[in-house]
Each structure stands twice: as C-alpha cells, then as structure tokens.
Symmetry: C2
C-alpha cells in the first residue's frame, strides 16, 4: 500500500492541489505519472502524496524545501506544458494552495511496524 | 461530483492529514462523516477536502482561520475520542502537517461553468 511521505524537519513548503477530473480524460495516467517522476528530479523536492477517489475528486500534496524550488518547478518547461494540457483537457476545476509547514507529526500502528 | 473548497483570502491554515487504513475497519465511514459534520460546526472552520483511493491511502485537508481554532478543534472531546479510536483501529499509519497558507489560486474549465 502507498505510505505517506516521511516527514522532513519543518519549516518547509507544501503545495496542495485539489482537482476534479473531466469525464473525457485520455492520457491522464501516463502524464500524471511522468510529472511525479519529473518532480522527484527537481532540486528541493521533498516528496509527494496523492489520492483520488472513485468520484474523480483528487488531492495531491507535494513538499518542497523552499519558495525558490516551488518557483523553479513552476517554470520547468515540461511541467508548464502539462499544466496547460490539464486546464484544456483533464480538469473541470482545481484549487492550489501554497503553504509553509510549521510542524508535523506521524504515527505508525504497532501491528504495522 | 465533489468540488474543491472555495478559497478564503490568505493567510489561513491548512491541516494536511495523510493516512493508510487498516483492513479491519468497521464503523469508519460513519465516524468519519460525523467528524466532518462536527468540524464544520467549530469556530474558525473554513472548509475540508478529502480523497481516498482504492488502495486505502487517503488525504484530508481541513482549512482553519488561525492556530487557535486548530488548537480548539484538537481539544474537542468527541474529536479526541475519534482520534484515539483511529490510532487503535483504523489507521496503519498517518502523517499530519500544520501549514500556513500564503497564497492560493483556482481554476474552473469554461465548459464546467
């Protein structure tokens, strides 16, 4: 099973992307997977968590060292092209929140250790 | 379809809860729904977005006016009891990030308006 990204030591940044998918999605899965791979190669990338329910509503949270790494990822050319395709084809709506993580906690059940 | 929470004007806070569910879940759905209702009644609550995939990994992001409202929600008795049950029964692991939202954007496809 997917596990949450291990916790870096705050402060760092989280980019929260909430989206609804359109019903006419074609190559979304491959492009989405490619973006995850590409993000992981960027300076300052700390991790990403993603979940999408059967109703098409999804949340992806990516974690970054600082504002500069978020800005550089935003300007990465292949990512910019994917965002344009996303607005044109894949997403009915989305919201994006950029937030500074101030503290973080984790828990693992004794039976899962 | 579920839609993302409309954007308040930053700054405000986001609590990002990433979790894996155990396979022995019994009354999770009702308790989870009850917690969403109870959260919505709290002072300073701005909204909540939630998605869980078929693999059991889920993300819930709740939005709050300030640190004080997050602290009060944390101390709410029924919520505290649900968290204890969550650790004992529902969650294999989780991470929690408390983050200050600095900026936010949204998008709605022309065809979805």
């Amino acid at each position: 099973m997917t596990q949450p990204t291990p916790l870096p030591t705050p402060p760092y940044y989280a980019v929260i992307f909430n989206s609804t998918r359109t019903s006419t999605v074609t190559d979304y899965a491959e492009r989405s997977e490619r973006m995850m791979e590409l993000a992981a190669e960027q300076p300052g990338f700390l991790g990403v968590d993603s979940a999408r329910g059967a109703d098409g509503f999804g949340i992806t949270v990516s974690y970054w060292r600082d504002e500069e790494s978020i800005k550089a990822w935003r300007e990465e050319a292949e990512h910019a092209a994917a965002r344009a395709d996303g607005r044109a084809q894949w997403y009915g709506s989305y919201t994006l929140h950029v937030a500074k993580v101030e503290r973080a906690y984790d828990f693992t059940a004794p039976s899962a250790e």
